[in-house]
Subunit: 474 residues, 4 copies
């Protein structure tokens, strides 16, 4: 509601006070109008009250919230538990329509509007993050892995005879399972190792294309954001390769949206070569609960193929989360978080190099990784006689509240869906030294970094002592 | 918290009042303990306050809610917008772990517990609904169609050489797209038409198995709940066929959980034949917002194959909705909703038959459909000279707040992913008379039914008049 | 907000769906407009969402919620804790203005509107409850007792030389303390006792007026709702007395608004005599949390004297509670609660008479009490040798969850602010038999009554046995 | 609840994850225990979730929240509207018991605990703010003025023959009406004026005491926090006078709790003289919505007299607000707000002096006012020919979002309850120059101050021009 056409009697409130009150509503009304008409992310974040007001208004456009509704179908978005209803602001219809995520729903004008508006805001955000040529994107209420599967499935509809996916190795299970889930055949292209850092092996890619024949290949599949010492894939070169062989190119940009360098690489890859889809996690980049991913493309028509590959309608909960988060932060709020991340990454790097120096270790130089860092654990490893007890370090950190660090040790192989991954976790086959990775992702605070080094130091000391004692005993 | 080990001073509250207050907490504490230890759905629903208390407690076990957390990973379940955080009760980690929906998360004991407990409560509910042999189930945060795709993908891992899915035709897009999304080849088995009602053509299924060869067939795929005049598939016979040919059998039980007869058929099909998975919508059966489905099986080990086919972790939002809804209703609350649905279905049927009689139409007898009803629109159609203007009826109803009814008219063909569906919407190729379907799904009220007939009658009259006027003019 | 002047692009939502959504908003908009313009309680209750929307909109008119506010005063309604802010819907300014509860606040158009509108709705409700001549009322954010004190204080400003308040005895502390708190001199007029029931002693009132001289008397002060076996005061006769002697008449109508007979008596008292103010509890009559009272009068100008006696501004929290409750119930919701109360009172009375008969006791006939009932405890008392151990009965009931019953025993005297009350609790000086009172107030359920008799019976039996055993031992 | 005695099965969550989750609960549990057992304000603020959890737990101890409750009284804290219930966390019983605000309620152990605990936390806060000798305090759910009335009423019970209240003039209506509301006789003691600043006239006080006779005087009534150029009363001297004449001394400390100097003066006044009660606003000092005040005393027994003067029970809403706010801020949060206020006051003063200098005006030196500042408006006034059009300045500022400033102009008299106040607003009888006051109260931001001066400057310029134009025209 608003008070526009209501003649509030003087008995309720004197007219001059009333007019002042009404005048104060104007900025909010202007904000609502602009958002809906221009579909651009506001510069400054909105207060919670405005966000909730808009969300409630949009929800009231869905038929399950009509006062006069008569539901005679099998799915009428009835919500039995009022706690559930309340937490979803009475949205019940989800997004999309049987078999197309981007289609409008006749029963749910509000949900439809919310979904399309959210996609428009994400696009506006992305274009402002170094991706001006991005032409479309949409939020899929599935994780990054499954969304990549969805992209692969839609590519298969276009290239029904192709079955191979050429994939630059990265040791994260769901990246790989995204291929097998689609019933496709992964071809693992190992990384180049130089001074312990890993990068894309362009030649190997090219050789595989030639060996298998381009027509049998569904697409090239690269990854940007990853754990050090692996670097972001060289997506510009791969994009050029893709263009040359007329092959689709799919980029797993899981948490790359928060990194300016990667966005710029994507833009460049598109200019010089070919990028069909790039997929990013909504939780990792936009700080919402786990469960969504964003498919983006430089060619809007390609997106419809993905949207219509989803069988059924889908949860609108992720859309609501992203919508509220974007309005709450505003463009400036998000950019300021990105800037803080950069500062904290640099701070983390400095501190880690200092730590390394003090303990006779090394921070592995991985120039094209702007989020994750790896420090060697050579001296500790030597202390254990190169045993696996060094993995204790991870457990010790975890028990003290540190999450997200990884200790990677030589000799830990794994088989996933029939494919062997020697030295799993290291993205390579001949890991020589164990290392530990840390990352500075969006939202990290300086206090966390300081606390981490305090704990890391304590654990290091404790572990060194106990290892050397053990050795003495032996 | 509770007050158990706290010595509240007399200055704050006199001891006798205090003791009475504490004593009143006992039933609640007992309820919490039993729920967690026995993992059974409580008989009676809980008050909102108790549900929220438990949910908050469980969420506090996740590492993102630890006061001393230090997050150095790329995904730390940070939530930027406090409205989002609040509506998710601070849950951020989702469920599952890279590549397995049922795995526990080291960072998220609470989310893990919530997911497993919710699955246990659903199982308990299902066993009490006529499926005592059901051995496991889990909630997938994707719609029914995509969850069926997931089941097909996991079947493919077991039968890599099979590519056909034998499917008893039902004209809902997402049921069919579930097959093509998985990159599999659908084989459409037409229904038998008898007195306008449709049922499973067992012989046609058998012929197809023999024609294609069992080894090329991934599975038989049937559907229970559907729009009249199609009946629930004869799943007992198909299950026996599946057993005979050693073929997997997948049942789309979209909104069948609310129908006792269907559950009993499923149980019987398993006893006499083979059912691998049956999939049901969480929103249609449990009245939560759109976005989840439940995979169930009579063999628990089969479920792990599905869970591990999901590439990545997944949204926990659907889990939370189902958890809160089940606790809020309790077993008795859910059963009483089911009973009301049965009563309302009978009432709807009576009223529809009366309406049909008054207007010279017929309610098509579809004995194995316990939720949807179809009434012929012969006289109206005659009035239009069998033109398609009869579809106006649907629009007229919709504009007056009636949702969920469908007007099906001869001659509306459609092609989906390259497969032709003549007379789409009718599940058959030679529809003769148009009809309208209505359903009495869980949650429908008698008031809705009464309002519907008022509106239906008004629209019918209006349309008849305008059609006959048009005819006169011509 | 609303969508009225917003051109939502087709890209966001197709126009026909959009128009249906907009059309569905009309009843709500009409409801808002009517409420504000006509200031009448809606017939039917509103859904929670509509109530919250309106409340949020009203709050946004207060200056503390202006986006551009610059606060340089000593009180700017800043709210430090967002939980507090949220639960008050961002209202912070309270109601009234230094020294007048009914004045508008320049800083707070919203709070002002809310207060005046709430008072208008209460007035509309009261007029429909049998008080058509009521000319005004307002909610005071203090309990009934303190609000009576406020009325007395405002009467004193008009009659500065009068100091006595003639008060028909009722044994509730705060009724009496309302007089002494104002620094006035209470004159206790004992009730007439007839067959154990108590009623107003009109002659005693008249004698006191003559003895003290009307000019020394501030007002006559009567009470309607009370514990049986005291009856509602005979307010019609006292009103006539007041008129004859030109004396103000103040009625404590604490929980009388829920009783049709009392409202009709008030209306009659005014017609035939004089009633200046009648005061009722908002929590007891309108089922909101404790803390407010409603002053009403048949002469609006008298109310301003009360409003301007309050020194300062006051909490708006009670106003908000009453506003939301009235909108939530609607006129029909409230009336249906009143009807249920009448039915339950009759049911309680029947059951109590049956219980009395079974146990050789009596329900004391107090014809002018329509809410409370008293049952004698003669046989139990005989069993104790007329000792005070009979008070155990109350404790036993309380321990089993029964609240609100009172056991009144002869011989319990009390002194309040220097005035002696022999047989305190019984409203009389020579109580002969102990009794227990129960009430059927608005909101009571039949289940509660049934549970009560189960527990009452159990306690009665247990106590009888233990009393007779004790007697035997002696 | 907590998980202490619950054996959570491994099936729900692996034991090591579970143990980590449980371990993380310890700080919270310790916090709850300490709060309840020690009744001290925590050093650091609590997160919202912990506050709400505790509040919910406390509410569950009230009988209206018992699952097995049977309510047969006239007031059972039933809440009809669930929005109301939710916003009060299901508290319904209010605080106190008929006729004593500090008494425990048998029906409401939770409300009782909440009230007492909140009072304990306020006391702890006050002791740490420079009032170590403070022995007790309690929150009254009425504004400062009415709470002062309550104190006066309780003093009258102790000195029934005294009727005069000696009051150092301050031009705020509710301060004065607090006396007349109690039916007492105010004796206005004018302030001393020196260099435009005002201070307490000790001699005048002494003369009045002697003239009227101490036995006729109820108490001396001073005010600390006030608008410049009035200073805080010289409470130390008045306290000594009170002690000498054995007279009660009541201090209106409305917004003085936020000012260290005033607290120290109070402490000193008590050491060297006599202070019976000092009363402060909860909204002005603790940033909660309007509606409460805190009565404090250096002698706990004096407080019981005030508590038992309140006729009835009272709203618990203010208690809840203060409780949540204090826990949310913690001691350190509150102290840091105080420090910011001091900094902002100094900043405001500097800026104002600069502004004054630029415009040929003066910031009046009022040394004992640490919160409010007055700037003369001589040049503007001269421009109007000393007309009253200068009051436009206030309206202009208000229209631009500036609230809380006051323009005080010579010649504005007022009569309140029969007492004349010449030059009302200026606290004196011979105001020569108009002035404007601004205050830096707790919660003010530097941005607000900067915005104020921008607007002030604009208005000043605009007004000067239009005034000089008008003059030219004349």
């Amino acid at each position: 509601m608003n008070f526009d056409n209501i003649n509030v009697p003087q008995k309720l409130v004197p007219e001059n006070y009333w007019r002042l009150g009404l005048a104060a509503q104007r900025p909010k009304k202007r904000g609502f109008k602009e958002l809906l008409e221009k579909r651009k992310l506001p510069l400054n974040g909105w207060p919670d009250e405005h966000i909730e007001e808009l969300v409630h208004q949009i929800a009231s456009l869905d038929s399950n919230n009509f006062p006069h509704k008569v539901g005679l179908g099998e799915r009428e978005a009835r919500i039995a538990c009022r706690l559930v209803s309340r937490r979803h602001y009475n949205f019940g219809h989800g997004i999309g329509r049987s078999g197309d995520l981007m289609e409008a729903q006749p029963k749910a004008a509000g949900s439809t509007l919310l979904a399309h508006l959210t996609n428009a805001l994400i696009l506006d955000l992305m274009q402002g993050l170094g991706l001006p040529s991005c032409r479309g994107c949409f939020l899929v209420p599935m994780c990054t892995g499954m969304t990549i599967t969805l992209c692969l499935q839609s590519l298969r509809k276009q290239r029904p005879l192709a079955k191979y996916v050429l994939w630059s190795r990265i040791d994260q299970k769901s990246c790989f399972k995204a291929i097998t889930a689609a019933g496709l055949e992964p071809v693992i292209v190992p990384c180049l190792v130089q001074h312990q850092a890993l990068s894309t092996d362009l030649n190997a890619f090219e050789q595989q294309v030639e060996a298998l024949g381009a027509e049998t290949i569904l697409c090239l599949y690269t990854t940007t954001s990853c754990f050090a010492p692996r670097n972001s894939d060289n997506i510009v070169d791969i994009a050029q390769l893709a263009k040359r062989f007329d092959l689709p190119h799919l980029v797993n940009n899981a948490y790359g949206l928060q990194i300016g360098e990667i966005s710029r690489q994507l833009e460049r890859a598109q200019r010089l070569g070919r990028v069909d889809y790039f997929v990013q996690s909504s939780d990792k980049n936009l700080l919402v609960p786990v469960g969504g991913a964003i498919v983006a493309s430089f060619d809007q028509s390609l997106l419809y193929l993905v949207g219509s590959s989803y069988a059924g309608r889908a949860s609108g909960s992720q859309t609501l989360d992203v919508f509220m988060t974007l309005l709450s932060l505003g463009r400036s709020g998000y950019h300021s978080m990105l800037q803080k991340r950069v500062d904290n990454f640099n701070y983390l790097k400095e501190q880690l190099m200092e730590f390394a120096q003090r303990h006779g270790e090394l921070v592995i130089e991985s120039r094209d990784n702007f989020i994750s860092l790896a420090i060697t654990l050579g001296t500790l490893w030597a202390a254990t006689g190169q045993g696996s007890s060094i993995t204790q370090l991870g457990a010790m950190l975890h028990m003290r509240g540190v999450s997200g660090v990884r200790v990677v040790v030589p000799g830990q192989s794994k088989t996933i869906d029939g494919h062997a991954f020697p030295d799993f976790g290291s993205h390579q086959t001949n890991l020589e030294l164990p290392y530990l990775t840390v990352a500075a992702a969006i939202g990290i605070t300086r206090e966390e970094i300081d606390k981490f080094f305090k704990i890391f130091n304590k654990c290091w000391t404790k572990l060194s002592q106990s290892l050397s004692e053990n050795k003495t005993k032996q």
